[in-house]
């Protein structure tokens, strides 16, 4: 068990790295404050496809293709493809994977999917089960609205705590090549259910999960928040971020100024998006865009990604179940 630290954290001594990456976002994300950090901004969010589901699949395929191209790797040289998304039976990922003859591990972690993929990919590399792993995820505003809330056509008003699903896709290759940031630790979270039931305020439901994972990660590694230049939570949104700060403050954690939130920041204050962004692509494009650029340009040396996910389904909400939530933490170093 030499690769474990404390109760939950995994360490990757062999130094798997993110050696290639590609992010692609929709037009609304492209008007946000991090537009310059993304590799591609789509001019329209349909890509000429007949349905938004087809668009989401195409976005993921494009991200995968561009990542491979940048890495100068062909798909046959990959040992695994790990992908997930928000749709029923993760169909976006399954359909995208069907075009490649590479072993596919489909995962679901709602908006935490990307961190789950990153952690699993690093485990496969550390365990010498693979030399190159491709990870990817995608989400689309319209498909997620239809899946979890109401069809766009119904034109339902948004309320203040609602988050807007990010339209985007991201893919990355993890390998031992000599470039890109190292994945040093992964802390897979436990499912936390505080009994919250409001699907229009998922930030508040997810904050306790983020809190628990951060607490466990710091205890396992003996680090403080201040040991990280940035601690990026996935998509708690403005509401959830406020709650996480309260929880951390109450237990006397220091270095709260290092906290940032992908969901709160991906859109600007001037954009009408309720409490911010969410969706599987949110933390993925923010990490592979903004965070990796910061690491590459030495603006940050060590970063903790805490991707949160609300593990609800449209059915469980209607049946009055509470929302189980999860958060996975991944530590990246320059």
């Amino acid at each position: 068990m030499g690769n474990r630290l404390g109760t939950r954290t995994l360490t990757f001594s062999r130094g798997p790295r993110i050696t290639s990456r590609y992010t692609l976002v929709g037009p609304r994300e492209g008007k946000g404050p991090y537009a310059l950090d993304f590799h591609e901004i789509l001019a329209d969010d349909s890509l000429g496809q007949k349905t938004a589901e087809k668009t989401e699949r195409l976005m993921l395929e494009l991200a995968i293709a561009k990542t491979l191209e940048q890495h100068d790797t062909s798909i046959d040289e990959l040992h695994f493809l790990i992908a997930g998304d928000l749709l029923n039976q993760i169909t976006t990922s399954c359909l995208a994977a069907s075009t490649h003859a590479v072993p596919f591990i489909g995962i679901y972690g709602a908006c935490s999917t990307f961190a789950e993929a990153l952690g699993l990919g690093a485990v496969l590399l550390q365990g010498d089960f693979a030399e190159q792993v491709l990870i990817g995820t995608a989400s689309h505003y319209q498909t997620a609205e239809r899946q979890f809330r109401y069809p766009i056509e119904l034109n339902v008003q948004h309320i203040r705590t609602n988050q807007v699903t990010v339209t985007g896709a991201a893919a990355a290759i993890l390998s031992f090549a000599d470039r890109g940031p190292r994945i040093t630790h992964a802390t897979f979270g436990t499912v936390v259910d505080m009994g919250l039931k409001d699907p229009h305020d998922m930030g508040s439901a997810m904050a306790p999960a983020a809190f628990r994972t951060i607490k466990e990660h710091l205890a396992d590694t003996g680090r403080t928040l201040a040991d990280y230049d940035i601690v990026l939570t996935g998509d708690l949104g403005r509401q959830g971020s406020k709650m996480l700060r309260l929880l951390l403050e109450r237990e006397g954690f220091e270095g709260l100024e290092r906290l940032q939130d992908g969901g709160s920041q991906i859109f600007g204050d001037w954009q009408p998006v309720g409490a911010g962004g969410s969706g599987a692509a949110c933390v993925a494009v923010m990490t592979l865009g903004y965070i990796l650029n910061a690491l590459e340009s030495a603006k940050a040396k060590r970063v903790l990604i805490v991707a949160t996910g609300a593990l609800l389904s449209a059915l469980t909400v209607l049946q009055g179940e509470s929302i189980p939530c999860i958060a996975h933490a991944i530590a990246l170093e320059q």
Binding site: Q142, E153, N155, V156, Q157, H200
Partner: protein, 116 residues
């Protein structure tokens, strides 16, 4: 003056519904059904008609007016047919509006694309 009253009353009903939507944890469907039922019940108690006379279109156009029309139709059909009127009366007056909604929205769905 009539126009002003209709505008203010109709607006007030909508503003109230918006207030409920914003503060209470309910969906637009809850509001829709709630107001329809409220209109039906008020009319059944004989309260909606005086209100309608006062506010005109302001009371008729919001969905509460639809609810009241259901009751009006039922009452008149019950008087004419007896208990069967409870079943035939609901759509006696509202049938026009419902059929028009179905026909025109079908036609529009054929000719235009929903907003993305």
């Amino acid at each position: 003056m009539q126009y002003l009253i209709a505008f203010l009353v109709g607006g007030a009903i909508c503003a109230l519904a918006q207030l409920i939507f914003d503060t209470a944890k309910c969906s637009s469907a809850h509001i829709l059904v709630g107001l329809t039922c409220l209109g039906a019940v008020l009319n059944g108690l004989g309260l909606y008609e005086p209100f309608q006379e006062f506010a005109g279109a302001g009371a008729l156009v919001p969905v509460m007016g639809f609810g009241s029309s259901i009751t009006t139709g039922m009452i008149s059909e019950v008087k004419r047919l007896g208990w069967e009127g409870l079943f035939t009366g609901a759509f006696e007056i509202t049938g026009l509006g419902l059929a028009a909604a179905v026909v025109f929205s079908s036609l529009l769905a054929l000719s235009s694309k929903p907003h993305r």
